[in-house]
């Protein structure tokens, strides 16, 4: 196996002085798709937020290397610039900034070069088509007045435009109807076409994984990885839920 893109070692994370993750280890290689599953409250989103650098989550121990560098000492935007992306469970509404202008300034700031307006607009429209979103979304204020499903699609749109090397999808499927899940997973497949692009899909629901190639599944219960395996684990969880794992650590 090629050198890992992301290596998480014994990561401990607290929120408001209470420890949520009690030492988590995960390694993700280039082009791999990993799934993090677990019951509500297990700490799945905590892992995603801690990796992205959400200031509400305090790392109290452990180490994270991303592309060989210490991820934890970087600021949030430096993490983004180094190729990390997180799709938010609850994307924030930002009035007065259109989705398209925001993406343009984000890409320009990361690359340090000016985008050609027309080419960029074409790219945005093609991506909107992939996600079955109307072109008018590009001009609408970022997430303002978007339905839950539209917000999730807009996150995938940003993923496809920003082209990170590792994308964390935090409960991107929650609150979506069957059709929206299909559309979103089509967007994720589009992202997977890049042979080097890696994914960490956080979910407690297997539907979104049906159409995706999965390399590895991690089961997180009470802040610890309790089981790891291949795609077959998804089926096992679908049938039996998490209770078996919860009992195992009780």
């Amino acid at each position: 196996m090629a050198a890992d893109m992301l290596t998480v070692k014994d990561l401990r994370v607290s929120v408001e002085d209470s420890e949520i993750l009690h030492g988590v280890d995960i390694s993700i290689g280039p082009g791999e798709t990993h799934v993090l599953m677990g019951p509500n409250g297990a700490g799945k989103s905590t892992l995603g937020n801690a990796l992205m650098g959400n200031p509400q989550y305090t790392v109290t121990g452990g180490e994270v290397r991303f592309h060989g560098e210490d991820l934890l000492e970087k600021s949030v935007n430096e993490r983004a610039a180094s190729g990390l992306f997180m799709s938010f469970q609850n994307p924030i509404e930002i009035p007065g900034i259109s989705l398209e202008n925001f993406m343009r300034s984000a890409i320009e700031q990361r690359s340090g070069t000016k985008l050609r307006l027309w080419d960029f607009r074409k790219q945005v429209r093609a991506t909107l088509d992939t996600l079955q979103m109307e072109h008018s979304y590009a001009e609408r204020d970022l997430n303002v007045g978007f339905s839950g499903g539209e917000k999730k699609k807009a996150e995938i749109l940003q993923l496809l435009l920003l082209k990170p090397s590792l994308a964390i999808l935090d409960e991107t499927d929650s609150g979506l109807d069957v059709d929206a899940v299909k559309t979103v997973s089509r967007g994720i497949k589009e992202f997977q076409k890049d042979q080097e692009a890696s994914l960490l899909v956080i979910t407690h629901n297997a539907a979104i994984l049906d159409a995706l190639h999965v390399d590895k599944v991690h089961v997180l219960v009470n802040g610890r990885i309790v089981k790891e395996g291949g795609a077959e684990l998804i089926k096992e969880i679908e049938e039996n839920g998490f209770s078996a794992f919860e009992e195992a650590i009780a």
């Binding site: 992205m52 650098g53 959400n54 200031p55 509400q56 970087k74 600021s75 949030v76 935007n77 430096e78 993490r79 983004a80 610039a81 992306f85 997180m86 938010f88 994307p91 924030i92 930002i94 009035p95 007065g96 900034i97 925001f102 993406m103 300034s105 984000a106 890409i107 700031q109 990361r110 204020d141 940003q158 920003l162």
Partner: protein, 470 residues
């Protein structure tokens, strides 16, 4: 991880802060006496009634107390304000080449002649107390539109029109600084748009205060006659000096029956300025006034443009943004008097405070008993960028009829950490993220402005937020 935050008011205003050595032709002594007023009046070749008006205003000024309900203006020493400074130029050049080089250079840097060439129907530029340049496009003048300085107009064919209106909307008895204005006013613009004439491109005036410790008291009088339509833009700036400067201008707008006037201001006075400005519009039947107001500069501002809706169906719209940074106390808002049936007013403001700045929104809506079926909607939103800044909202309503529909909405918020984290996770630096949130917050105001002003306003916000230009 974040860039060092710098404070714009001291170092980064370089673009506005350049200044030239003072080279005044004439300057009165500091402080105010009837003799000084007579001196000013003689120098300006006032008609007799105007000289008497000035002297009477001075009396009112002396017996009127300082306002005690708003931000402190104790730093303002009236005895040290040189009320009248006339630059060393013949008044009222209509050829740009004839404006003296240092003054011309000032305005060139501020982009005034370029703006005129590209997008304006006419331009007036005031330097300290006098209008130094004035020009109106031929085709606009041919429609009968008058745009000139008040001093010349006082002696021309519009003399009676001015006499009937000068400080009638804002009488010297209104408050202490209105009285001061009546005594020492100098410069400013007179605009008359004849009935039915629609001026397609905006007229602009630009005020620049260059002398230290001076006052600027320009008077703007605009009459938009029946069925006519005008957009007037006013811009203000001054370099920074260590001596407090005072701006006590007065704007009187007469909007005729079914006429429409849009009055836009971007004010970026230096941060030692006391901006005590009075603006008022009277709107006749079916007419409409639109105020667009951006307040960025000054140390202390008292600014509440007022609309008097005098005729049935008259309308007022006020859109404003105020940005108070370190050392600034900006008290802004608006007032509307519904004085006739079926009148409507709409107020929409954003205020931003940062680095300990104080921004206060004050509004007053008055609905008189006869103003039945009137509607008013006030919405003000405030954003505090950090924990040391302050924002207040003081709405007042005096509704004298049951047959009116009145709404008020106020929201005060802070930049949420979640929003900053969200934008940073896409690659924006913390400063960029905050600037984006703030300019988005003010967006509904900036998009009301002509493009180049919208750009300037966004630039001002970014400069204020980031403390860095380019």
């Amino acid at each position: 991880m974040s860039e060092t935050k710098t404070h714009i008011e001291d170092v980064k205003r370089a673009f506005y802060d350049f200044r030239f050595e003072e080279n005044d032709a004439y300057r009165v002594r500091s402080g105010l006496t009837p003799e000084i007023i007579k001196e000013i009046s003689a120098e300006k070749k006032d008609p007799d009634w105007m000289r008497d008006f000035r002297l009477k205003s001075l009396e009112i000024f002396e017996r009127t107390p300082m306002p005690d309900w708003g931000p402190s203006i104790e730093g303002l020493d009236m005895d040290n304000i040189v009320t009248y400074v006339r630059p060393n130029a013949e008044r009222m050049n209509t050829r740009w080449e004839d404006v003296p080089d240092d003054i011309k250079d000032t305005f060139e840097r501020l982009g005034i002649p370029q703006a005129e060439r590209t997008s304006l129907a006419g331009v007036g530029a005031q330097y300290d107390s006098e209008l130094v340049y004035h020009n109106v496009r031929k085709e606009v003048a041919a429609m009968g539109v008058v745009y000139t300085d008040i001093e010349s107009a006082l002696h021309g064919e519009y003399a009676d029109m001015i006499r009937e209106r000068f400080m009638h909307l804002v009488p010297p008895t209104d408050h202490k600084f209105a009285a001061l204005h009546g005594a020492v006013w100098s410069g400013g613009s007179f605009v008359y748009v004849p009935p039915g004439i629609s001026v397609e491109i905006p007229l602009q005036s630009y005020f620049r205060l260059n002398a230290p410790g001076a006052g600027q008291f320009e008077h703007t009088l605009i009459i938009v006659d029946e069925g006519a339509d005008l957009h007037f833009i006013e811009g203000c700036s001054a370099p920074k000096y260590n001596v407090a400067n005072l701006h006590a201008g007065c704007v009187e707008l007469y909007v005729g029956k079914n006429a429409k006037l849009r009055y836009s201001t971007i004010e970026n006075w230096s941060k030692n300025m006391y901006n005590l400005n009075t603006k008022r519009a009277r709107v006749e039947e079916g007419g409409k006034i639109e105020w667009i107001s951006g307040s960025f500069g000054s140390h202390v501002s008292y600014l509440y443009p007022m609309s008097v809706l005098k005729g049935a169906g008259a309308r007022s719209e006020f859109t404003g943004v105020t940005f108070a940074g370190a050392g600034q106390n900006l008290d802004t808002g608006c007032k509307v008097v519904h004085g006739a049936p079926d009148t409507t007013s709409y107020v929409n403001t954003r205020s931003i405070s940062k680095d300990g700045g104080i921004s206060t929104f004050r509004s007053a809506i008055v609905v008189e008993p006869k103003a039945v079926n009137s509607r008013s909607s006030v919405s003000c939103q405030s954003l505090m960028v950090d924990d040391i800044s302050r924002s207040d909202t003081i709405p007042a309503m005096d509704i004298r009829t049951a047959k009116a529909d009145i709404g008020h909405e106020a929201r005060i918020g802070r930049i949420s950490d979640d929003a900053v984290f969200y934008l940073m996770s896409r690659g924006l630096s913390e400063d960029e993220a905050r600037a984006l949130i703030v300019s988005g917050f003010a967006d509904n105001v900036s998009k009301e402005l002509p493009l180049e002003y919208a750009v300037e306003m966004n630039n001002l916000i970014r400069i204020e937020m980031k403390g860095a230009i380019g």
